[in-house]
Amino acid sequence: MLSKIAPRAFTAPVRYSAYASPVRAAFSPAVVSRRTVTTDAASTHAEKSDIPDADDQPFTVKLSDEAFETYELDPPSYELNTTKNELKQMYYDMVAVRRMEMAADRLYKEKKIRGFCHLSTGQEAVAVGMEHAIEKTDHVITAYRCHGFAMMRGGSVRSIIGELLGRREGIAYGKGGSMHMFSTGFYGGNGIVGAQVPVGAGIGFANQYMGKKNVTVSLYGDGASNQGQVFEAFNMAKLWNIPIIFACENNKYGMGTAANRSSALTDYYKRGQYIPGLKINGMDVLAVKAAIQYGKEYCAAGKGPLVYEFVTYRYGGHSMSDPGTTYRTREEIQRMRSTNDPIAGIKQKLLEWGVCDEGVLKEMDKEARAHVDEEVAAAEKMAAPDATPEVLFEDIYVRGSEPQFLRGRVPEENYYYPDREVQVPKSPAQT
């Protein structure tokens, strides 16, 4: 019975909670206390006296008691070492990711971006917190909501926006689009819901096979968590002790279906059954960092896989064609934006801890904005790929290993490949 009650408590639309607790202090809404893990983005504490003057001197912050929920797992340390520099960088990164997504939103509305475009506005803390906990030699794979991850892994804003615009200098040379981006230690950008999870297990498998000590994070959404192959991947990962973190980004809606309308068990961190799990406040970039840091050590120690659940929230619709208001209330979105925003959360902490003043933050905002604007302008100036057979038919197979020719729409358009040496590319993801 417990399982029937727990998920409801967790997934109950926020609007119901509003009646139960009309009085809410900013940044600590009563509504989130209904969920087992807080989504308060500013729940981490630090003693003012512990905070050093120097920007690069480490100090300890204490995460909220409600930052984690564990399943068959000792919780990570609630204390996290950081520096003022890192906190500022985290802030800057989240602002930059959001700025980039907003630019994509604008370009899409200007009809400059074609097809699909899934934005991660509201979920920035996951991509940013994770990147601050891992190395470039670690590996990440995710689904189609991938712009922020691609950027944090090292993709430039211009290459990502260029890709969205279908430009030759885009991150995938205009061949991938919004959903397919590869970068340092980053395997995309995958369009088939859930299919990236076993692929991620395979990346972890390869690292183990090659004796590398790095960790692989395989991300998927609450919607994908019901795919059969996710469980298949869990099974093999546990069986073979693969160093991987299966990380569910629970943004409460799989497309337009609320978690409790799709999942018999909405405790996604328990979905691994025989794999220890951790539920994390995915709105707090520090909690995300602490969790991934812990998982990286756990995997490196040879303890096998973990199942994570980042509790987060998507402000926008599922994709650009979804206003995102038919299956949830505007009030719910507004409440999350105004009280649980990951950027506002870290901003509050930066001010509270005296890391920097409002002026510096404004400067950083400006800088991020200017950088993104500049990059977007550069992307818009990029040329589209030449509409030639050479470009159309390139890279279907590894260069030099192509068939003699591939067929066009009519035989006259057949493309004959030049005779050349096989040139196997070195993937940037293979670090």
Partner: protein
Amino acid sequence: MVGQRLLRPAAQLLRSSPSALPRCSFQKVSAPAAASRWRTYATPSGTKEMTVRDALNEAMAEEMEKNDKVFVLGEEVAQYNGAYKVTKGLLDRFGEKRVIDSPITESGFAGLTVGAALAGLHPVCEFMTFNFAMQAIDQIINSAAKTHYMSGGIQPCNITFRGPNGFASGVGAQHSQDYSAWYGSIPGLKVVAPYSAEDAKGLLKAAIRDPNPVCVLENELLYGLSFPMSVEAQSDDFVIPFGKAKIERPGKDITIVTLSRCVGQSLVAAEILKSKYGVEAEVINLRSIKPLDVEAIVKSVKKTGHMMAVESGFPSFGVGAEIIALTAEYAFDYLDAPPIRVTGAEVPTPYAQKLEEMAFPSEQLIADYAAKLLKV
């Protein structure tokens, strides 16, 4: 109009008395007999007999020896020695790190091996049969075949999917399907279908070395058949290039384009045609479905003026259909009669033997249909 076009004279002739066509008897006249009969014409010294199973095994063992990035993963490949014993002895030789028994989880382990390939390994992913790979076809197509293109050519995926495909004996509808056309239609994949032991070794080794995803569609009924292996093929550097068909039997009167197990059947049919009608059929073993050797077909049709495709898959949108379309596109002017095809019947494979026999090409049917086309 449509009716008229369908009933062109040659087609009419071919349609005239379908009931007169004899029922197949492929289980009596077996491919191996045919193959060795044919092969005995030229057996240079130094050749040795080898089964297709052993050739596949040798191919994997040699490639694993050469490159420690190569590993084999699949159901029952290790301790059980392979459901069809193709991976026999590999566990003992290479250890459990590189020969891995997978749980029965096609979608999962296909995805896992694809991930391992993306991360730089060269997996050999064995499907117990390609019928089960239908559960994993998304990973093969979307995750493996398309990634290189979608990444703008920066992310390779060197993986080999292999296992028995197509017709087996008495295993019913869900275990008898031929997926040549399914995989053959996907840009980004390479697809091969070995017939002989040399084919098996050379193509599998080439597949493992190829930097792209490759499907090696084997056939269960061929596993146990022995073929001569030339001295060259016995070398551990023997590979067969993709996209090159092999003329298994030269002829001047009709071109029979075929693949996999049907090559053996077509060779027997060619012998029947010769002994009964004095007709010389040229039998082309495609070896590779994607890329497909159109040039070999055109060259042969130029010579013979007649083309017959023989395959055991479902007829609609199949390999035979593609071969006929290509022949029409590239060699229409050389044809003296419409190109024709012998395929599996449009029927989920039945279990009862006599019914099953009616569902697949037989040597006799191939010979008779060719004779009909040639009006002999």
